[in-house]
Symmetry: C2
Subunit: 112 residues, 2 copies
DNA sequence: ATTAATACATAGAATTACGAGGTATTGTTT
DNA sequence: AAACAATACCTCGTAATTCTATGTATTAAT
């Protein structure tokens, strides 16, 4: 598990990207998928994920559809048009930032 | 300039790495070097840099030597032994994190 | 002489993930 | 049947960290 500060500014990008690739997902599914894809190195906590989903929904980046699984209500989140646009911007910025950081801190690794 | 949250958790690593490569540097020099190496994309603000240098000094990662340039006092910072050890740890963690993030968000780019 | 650049510093604001706590259902094990 | 683990959602206050704004002072350039 990484120092939590490292994750700052990347959580939204991760969520936007996952939803863009998978169509729609519910909170718990997102956290499990991140855990799986990161080999257990990024563990999104409830206290981070659900507030983030709500904030992004409030900002118009996401919507959700409620479905009943047995007696349980499950919220499937999906990107809005605005969310798709933001995703492109966020990922571009993140990509550029990672490249810059690589250059700054690991110059010997930079592969063109 | 990136969304400021992205930098979180990376500032110490950047400072440790610069000092490791350049021996000793003073605050303003560090900010200029980061600006230069990042093509103006990462602009460390006074309000970020000086407190960070002080905190790292308090934590025993850095020491400094004061020199008089004319009437001005200039503080040259350098790594302590502990700072060098931390640098190795930080950079390893950062490198791993960047690799994980790349895999998560830019799977199509992952090169091995 | 005025301005820009150099060089340091601090206090409070803003952001954002986390910890701790809570509720409830479903599946598994003893 | 009971107990536990896993699933699934939520909220509130805290912690950590960078930034904004502000300040001081010297030196170089026009």
């Amino acid at each position: 598990m990484y120092s939590k500060e490292l994750l700052k500014g990347t959580l939204s990008a991760i969520i936007l990207n996952l939803l863009a690739e998978n169509g729609r997902m519910y909170g718990y599914e997102i956290s499990q998928r991140v855990k799986e894809l990161s080999d257990g190195k990024i563990l999104l906590k409830d206290g981070s994920l659900y507030p983030a989903l709500q904030t992004m929904t409030k900002d118009g980046l996401l919507t959700y559809e409620e479905e009943f699984i047995g007696k349980r209500v499950r919220k499937y989140y999906l990107l809005t048009t605005k969310g798709e646009e933001q995703k492109v911007l966020y990922l571009a910025e993140l990509k550029d930032f990672l490249a810059t950081l690589n250059k700054l801190v690991f110059p010997q690794l930079s592969l063109a």
